[in-house]
Amino acid sequence: MSTDLKIKVRGLSKAFGRKVVLNNLDLDVPRGQSLVVIGGSGTGKSVLIKCILGLLTPDKGSIEIDGREMVGASSDQREDAMRKFGMLFQGSALFDSLPVWENVAFGLIEGRGMKRRAAKEIAVRKLGAVGLGPEVGALYPAELSGGMQKRVSLARAIATEPEMIFFDEPTTGLDPIMSQVINELISKCVNDLGATALTITHDMHSLREIGDQAAMIFEGKIVWAGPAGDVDHSGNGFVDQFVHGRAEGPIKMPIRPL
């Protein structure tokens, strides 16, 4: 069983000062599948991804990637693991000092040492794969709309053909049509590359489109996990409330009357 886990998280805890964000969290990401983690804003979804990527150091717990422990690993081992990863950041995080094509080609040129000319060809191809023409390559990120930036960021995340891709709220802040375009692109990229995917979102539509497996995070823990098809009849109070967007339920919003 444990052999076909791409990522295995056990007892992960992370606090900022006195604010506990992740509290003894367990999570399994099966190899070659697309896991979608849902949860409200500020529940620590981004912190979870950043811990797995090694961008934040957890206070406690274990993170295994391909069976290798990553917490406390040397920076060489970490860099090794990073080579297999692609990441789509919540805010796109494009390098604003570089034109679009260099953004997409960045992992190839700097991470893999590829020649600029060869990397540019691949970048243009990847831009095509996310529906952007080669002329976009010469623009700078600031000249693009939010939806285009997301697509460039997606192209950058898949340019090195990673084994595992992380998506942090890929559709947040986009209109429904652009959301659907991004969802389809993600499904297509994951299927074409045969990659494992971990997506974090509060967009239920996204979950249904791109998820094989689903999990829900609440108060720093995974409160439910199962096949993505089961979210509508999970029998779990948290998931039900989230799926139907009810204000009443086990998830309490600390709101006082006006």
Binding site: K50, L53, G54, L55, E79, M82, R83, F85, G86, M87, F89, Q90, G91, A93, L94, F95, D96, S97, F106, G107, E110, G111, R112, G113, R156, T160
Partner: protein
């Protein structure tokens, strides 16, 4: 009384902590800067940014400083009929002290602030995290080129400032104070020693490193959105300026104390 002592103690400890953090940052930067991969393209870009684009402001500072030095020395020294010492005073003050210190402070305001703002924005928009996920070490890619460029370019700037400053003093002395232009130049050249110029250039190298280091340190560690970036920028300029004045004393002590 107790709480007063507590405050003092806490301030002292957090001061020590900050020194420790800066020291660690410096060691890490230098250690990583001397390991491949190197980024000659980025070093060149920073050299142009720091050296070439600072020329106007440093040149203006130098010429007016040289002019005012000549004028002030004249009003002071003419009381003792010691006007002939003007070329000596101008060239010594400029090469040893005013050239490096004023250029350092001007560059701290111009370049240190820009570095802190750029890295700070990259930090809060997750571009620094994105670098890591693309298998690129931010210390090697962002910090090292700036440190190297600062170390190299500030001495170049100061050498130019020395020449421009002496020209300013010459201009005032010859045109306004009626010095013989050949005598003035001869006195300048006869009097200035290699050690005067060299000590100034060593100072400049130290100051250039300090400016880049503070810009990178505060930018790299900025947090809390636009406000945080603003704070990082201010801190970079203030700490760099203070450190320049402190290290000016230290280097002077090393060169000239006997």
């Amino acid at each position: 009384m107790i709480s007063f002592l507590q405050t003092i103690g806490r301030t002292f400890l957090s001061g020590l902590e900050a020194i420790g953090r800066v020291t660690l940052f410096t060691l890490k930067s230098v250690l990583l800067a001397i390991q491949p991969p190197y980024y000659p393209r980025l070093i060149l870009k920073q050299m142009i940014e720091i050296g070439f684009y600072s020329l106007p402001v440093v040149g203006m500072t130098a010429i007016f400083t040289g002019m005012v030095l000549a004028l002030q020395t004249y009003t002071g020294f003419s009381r003792f009929s010691a006007e002939s010492a003007i070329p000596n005073v101008v060239v010594i003050s400029l090469t040893r002290e005013l050239g490096p210190v004023l250029a350092g402070l001007m560059v701290a305001g111009r370049v240190g602030a820009a570095m802190a703002a750029e890295l700070g924005t990259m930090r809060v928009t997750e571009q620094i995290d994105a670098l890591t996920t693309l298998s690129t070490n931010p210390f090697k890619y962002l910090v090292a080129p700036r440190l190297i460029a600062g170390l190299i370019m500030l001495p170049v700037l100061v050498l130019i400032a020395d020449i421009i400053g002496v020209a300013g003093g010459y201009l005032v002395s010859v045109v306004k104070l009626g010095f013989n232009h050949a005598t003035y130049l001869k006195n300048t050249v006869d009097f200035v020693q290699a050690l005067d110029v060299i000590s100034g250039l060593v100072k400049a190298g130290v100051f250039g490193f300090i400016v880049a280091l503070m810009g990178c340190y505060h930018g790299y560690h900025s947090h809390g959105g636009a406000q945080g970036v603003g704070k990082a920028t201010t801190n970079a300029v203030v700490t760099a300026s203070i450190l320049i004045l402190i290290f000016n004393y230290v280097v002077t002590e090393l060169f000239f104390a006997r």
